[in-house]
């Protein structure tokens, strides 16, 4: 239907006249009535992006975020009806976006917000408990672990956890000037970011790629000779980050 092509082409282009053949019901040209659809499409997509990137909205302010969203929706109109997933290209857009390049961490913040949202909707999984580790050391060194689908690991050269906390928690300290890899867990329904040391990050990368705990431990010790697994394992167990497999 050519009529839908014409209708669609003018939706994203405010300078373009409304398509021909539209009327008000009494035979008069539809005129600005077409703009209702234009407005619905553009504002609903801007709203969807604002919902998906609340920290970017806070960092940039509503007006600048609105301009960014407008650029985004023209360059990357949605390819799926799942608005919860809209905005996946935001980190890419921000990484190469000259007007905001002085705020270098925006792309990583966008990546974090996408990961938090994906975690929110990720599959449920039965967690393992500490009994998994009640085996002798030799056996433990050969054990592999599975991370729950709602966990995610984000590498960043920016103090990403501090940036998140500073923009979501009252009275949070100002971000430190250190790189912060971030682990996202979802103990029940609410995703939560955690800052990691480089050795903890190394251990998680290793376990996630299927290495045994022995191998992962050796990797972490290479990064930091004083690496102690206990705090990290406590975190992973209390936040239900490790699983036996998908929940029935």
């Amino acid at each position: 239907m050519k009529v839908q092509t014409q209708f669609r082409e003018a939706l994203f282009d405010a300078a373009r006249d409304a398509p021909r053949g539209l009327q008000d019901g009494a035979g008069n040209p539809a005129g600005s009535r077409y703009d209702v659809y234009r407005n619905n499409v553009v504002t609903s997509l801007q709203d969807a992006l604002a919902r998906n990137f609340p920290i970017l909205v806070k960092l940039l302010g509503e007006q600048i975020f609105g301009s960014l969203a407008d650029i985004y929706l023209h360059q990357h109109p949605p390819q799926s009806p799942l608005m919860m997933q809209y905005g996946d290209q935001m980190p890419t857009l921000l990484a190469g976006f000259a007007p905001l390049e002085h705020i270098g961490y925006l792309a990583d913040v966008a990546q974090l917000e996408i990961a938090l949202r994906d975690s929110y909707h990720a599959a449920d999984a039965d967690p393992i408990d500490s009994s998994t580790f009640a085996i002798d050391d030799a056996e433990l060194a050969l054990t592999t672990l599975t991370f729950a689908p709602a966990t995610a690991l984000i590498h960043s050269v920016w103090p990403l956890f501090d940036l998140w906390r500073f923009n979501t928690e009252p009275d949070a300290p100002a971000p430190q000037a250190v790189p912060q890899p971030v682990l996202i867990t979802r103990a029940e329904f609410d995703p939560q970011p955690h800052p990691l040391t480089p050795a903890q990050c190394e251990w998680i990368v290793s376990v996630r790629q299927g290495d045994t705990l022995g191998t992962a431990h050796a990797q972490a010790l290479q990064t930091d000779a004083t690496f102690d697994l206990t705090p990290l394992l406590t975190l992973l167990l209390t936040k239900n980050a490790l699983t036996k497999g998908p929940q029935e």
């Binding site: 239907m1 009529v3 839908q4 092509t5 209708f7 669609r8 939706l11 053949g21 539209l22 009327q23 008000d24 019901g25 009494a26 008069n28 539809a30 005129g31 600005s32 009535r33 077409y34 209702v36 659809y37 619905n40 499409v41 609903s44 997509l45 969807a48 109109p77 949605p78 390819q79 799926s80 009806p81 799942l82 608005m83 919860m84 975690s119 929110y120 909707h121 990720a122 599959a123 449920d124 689908p149 709602a150 979802r186 329904f189 609410d190 929940q247």
Partner: protein, 286 residues
Amino acid sequence: MREFSPLCDPLPDAVGVGYKPQHFADILDAPGPVKWVEIHAENYMGQGGRPIAQLRALAEKFAVSVHGVGLSIGGAGPLDPTHLARLKHLIDWVKPASFSEHLAWSTHGGTFLNDRLPLPYTAATLQTVADHIDHVQSLLGRQMLLENPSSYLAFDTSTYSETDFLAELVKRTECGLLLDVNNVFISATNLGYTPHSYIDAYPLAAVGELHVGGHALDQDDHGAPLLIDSHGDAPSAEVWDLLAHTLQKTGPKPLLVEWDNDVPDWNVLRAQADVAALALDQVATK
């Protein structure tokens, strides 16, 4: 005749509300007259987490209507197989009392436009929409309901009235209809016909569900009133009147109150559900 085996009981001839996550605790605790909830399919197509857990809990207490907003039934192109698969997965596990979608299109050339866009009512679009409904009904193995749009304009090329178009779709596909009374009032005001005449011409025998909701007032280029389907307020007095006129003809039906934007506290929405319950009572006792 096409046979559809019902997966569970149909929606009750009672009041439902459009479910909002912020009402989760309140609606379970103090549902008032509410016997069923409508969820928007696309918001429950994630893999797990809170949305799915809430839907499971709701489905234990209420009948559920799954209402799609992204299938693009009126689209010129084929239906998106990926989205259809997601929909089938949702329908298969929720086993809702009803599934409905819109007489509209929202996807074109692979781009989703996130609005229900209008189509001309012609022999060609009738065939396309009928084919899409057939496709959906055979995939899901159940009847679907099709909702009338809220219109801000009309097409010069239309050769069917909207009511005739819907009646023909019912005849060809054996789909049911979701009659949105607010949409009728909006379209009638915007396109210059009387809403009662629309209801009188509508294929009411196919109605499986009624909707009421709020709208906002704007103006067109000539200063004529232009109603916007905002779902951001209580239904207007005119919409309640039109509902009463409709119920006189249909008798009690599943009746949804929808409030999607500027969502109020549960008590405010429940008060509107009370108004809807009263409207149903008035025809039930006749």
